[in-house]
């Protein structure tokens, strides 16, 4: 099955890494993440399991080597779009959006500012949230309830992410994460 490419922003990248299952998720859904150089240049980390103040760095090279993720440079018209969008969003978000627009990719983001801009100027783009992609993965992989809960709780605890009330999959998330308190969160290997 051909891999589908998705333009991934830093918000969702952190969340997916927090699950410790990003490679498995990509394989299950037959997707490959495309990340703009502007995103990969940012230092990203997750809350360490043993010390909440410490951060475990996210090492993108591991994901690149595993073929889960590709870091790309913007080119041609993408650069022009990036610069235009950067007047309203930060560089990483603007580059992610420029990639999606020009390469016809679905966009993975939870960022409210990005979603506002997309709704007003790029309404034709397919946008997926953290909750939506994790839900698809959990359902397709037929994960047991305890594993789903562990996966979502890891995102809440290590990435401090909770879907908003406006997220269409927010209720699913809250129900699943509360359904069975996990004994421990999975390791967040990248």
């Amino acid at each position: 099955m051909a891999e589908r490419q998705l333009s991934l922003d830093a918000c969702v990248l952190i969340n997916l890494c927090a699950t410790g299952r990003i490679s498995e998720l990509a394989a299950t859904l037959a997707i490959r993440f495309v990340v703009a150089r502007e995103v990969s240049g940012e230092t990203l980390g997750l809350r360490s399991e043993d010390d909440g103040a410490e951060r475990t760095p996210i090492e993108l090279e591991v994901l690149v080597r595993a073929g889960v993720l590709e870091v790309v440079d913007l080119a041609g018209e993408e650069v022009a779009t990036f610069v235009r969008v950067a007047e309203r969003l930060d560089d990483g978000e603007a580059a992610t959006l420029a990639l999606a627009v020009h390469r016809g990719l679905a966009l993975l983001t939870d960022d409210r500012a990005a979603l506002r801009l997309i709704a007003s100027e790029h309404s034709g783009l397919e946008v997926l949230s953290t909750a939506r992609i994790l839900r698809r993965y959990c359902e397709q992989a037929r994960l047991p309830a305890a594993e789903i809960a562990a996966c979502l709780v890891a995102v809440e605890e290590r990435a401090s992410f909770f879907p908003t009330r406006l997220d269409p999959d927010g209720d699913w998330w809250r129900t699943q994460s509360a359904s069975q308190a996990p004994d421990q969160t999975p390791p967040a290997s990248t």
């Binding site: 230092t43 022009a80 969003l89 930060d90 560089d91 978000e93």
Partner: protein, 383 residues
């Protein structure tokens, strides 16, 4: 619409590019060579005589280590913030470290302005007219200005609670607590774009921080167009200029008003007819949030204690730390907030309302994304 069109509509981009290059100490020759441009092209670009192409902007942002989104801010950049300190910096042994700190505050002040722009709110400056103290001795001027300002701000004549917040909310002064070279207590700067900014050394004891804040307030109230760096006493031998003597006297009067301090001192005397003990003075210093030395010297100045009391206690080996321990006084927590509360609130609101992205939000707060999410959740429920 092409990127070139969008750049042409941003009249402040050339200035921002020039400032960004200057901030990282690069010459036009170096940059032009790195970008494969003729130097004359870069000069024209920085003067706004030649449009910036999108690729050039991205390349320059990388070269200068600055985000493109910051360079594209539509507001006019802050001008000459560091330049105000040029004379002081030229005489300073730690000029490089100090200049970096000043530049950091310039960026913070600029970010503050950007948050206000994004929120669509005006700066909250509520500045009183500058006080004239010409011809007055430092102590007389300090008493007059401190009393008037305390009354104007309805602060009474007792110990001050949360002076930093008072300055930020009632006057609209931007106060930042940052790490400064060890010999520097703080500094004051003013530009038309940012308004008044005070930086306080985050690594100093809390009593010293309060004193510095008040010292810088004195400069704001009397000489707000003159930038000033406050150097620790041990590092500033020689004759003290009149405005510095005023600022020190003002800090004493503002933090320990004659009327309030006399009243509190007399209250102690009434309960201890045999005389005030050093322990009672330690308590009183804690009550006013000042150091033991500042309190005793102030009481000496008011004639409530004999001149030389502090020197005598020091000579006798009186230990303030030991006295505090025996009295069970907890050490006061240092103020570790880098940014004013209003700054943080503006950032949280902008993020919550989708006016800034998560990456920008984290950058405004100078924290990583996970911490930024924690701040957003704690201060403004998303959902």
């Amino acid at each position: 619409m092409s990127a070139t069109e969008s750049e042409l509509r941003n009249p402040n981009l050339p200035k921002r590019l020039r400032n960004a290059r200057r901030d990282c100490g690069m010459t036009q020759e170096t940059v032009a060579a790195q970008l494969g441009l003729a130097r004359t092209s870069l000069v024209a670009l920085e003067k706004g005589e030649r449009a910036v192409r999108a690729e050039e902007l991205v390349a320059m942002a990388r070269l200068y280590g600055r985000p493109v989104d910051e360079l594209l801010r539509p507001s006019a950049p802050v001008e000459d913030f560091v330049g105000q300190f040029r004379t002081s910096l030229s005489r300073s042994a730690d000029a490089e470290e100090l200049e970096q700190a000043i530049r950091m505050v310039e960026r913070y002040a600029e970010d503050y302005r950007e948050l206000e722009r994004r929120a669509g709110v005006a700066a909250n400056h509520q500045y009183p007219p500058a006080y004239s103290i010409d011809g007055l001795p430092a102590t007389a001027a300090a008493t007059e200005v401190a009393t008037t300002e305390r009354n104007r701000l309805c602060l009474g004549d007792g110990p001050l609670q949360g002076l930093r917040d008072v300055l930020e909310t009632k006057l609209g002064i931007r106060v930042f607590f940052i790490a400064l070279p060890s010999r520097i207590e703080g500094f004051f700067a003013f530009t038309p774009e940012t308004g008044a900014c005070i930086a306080v050394n985050a690594n100093r004891p809390v009593e010293r921080q309060l004193w510095t804040l008040t010292h810088e307030l004195a400069h704001f109230l009397t000489r707000r167009l003159s930038a000033e760096i406050t150097v620790a006493k041990a590092h500033s031998p020689g004759r003290v200029p009149a405005h510095e003597r005023f600022a020190e006297a003002f800090a004493g009067e503002f933090l320990m008003p004659t009327s309030g301090l006399t009243r509190d001192f007399n209250a102690i005397l009434r309960t201890r007819p045999e005389g005030v003990t050093p322990g009672a003075l330690v308590e009183l210093a804690g009550f006013y949030g000042v150091s033991f030395q500042a309190l005793v010297v102030r009481l000496e100045g008011l004639g409530l204690l004999a001149r030389g009391t502090f020197d005598m206690l020091q000579h006798e080996g009186f230990s303030v730390a030991e006295a505090r321990r025996l009295l069970g006084l907890e050490p006061r927590e240092r103020d570790t907030r880098v940014f004013p509360a209003r700054y943080v609130t503006l950032a949280v609101d902008a993020y919550r309302d989708g006016r800034i992205s998560e990456g920008a939000f984290a950058r405004f707060l100078r924290v990583d994304r996970v911490t930024a999410r924690d701040v957003a959740r704690a201060l403004g429920q998303l959902g």
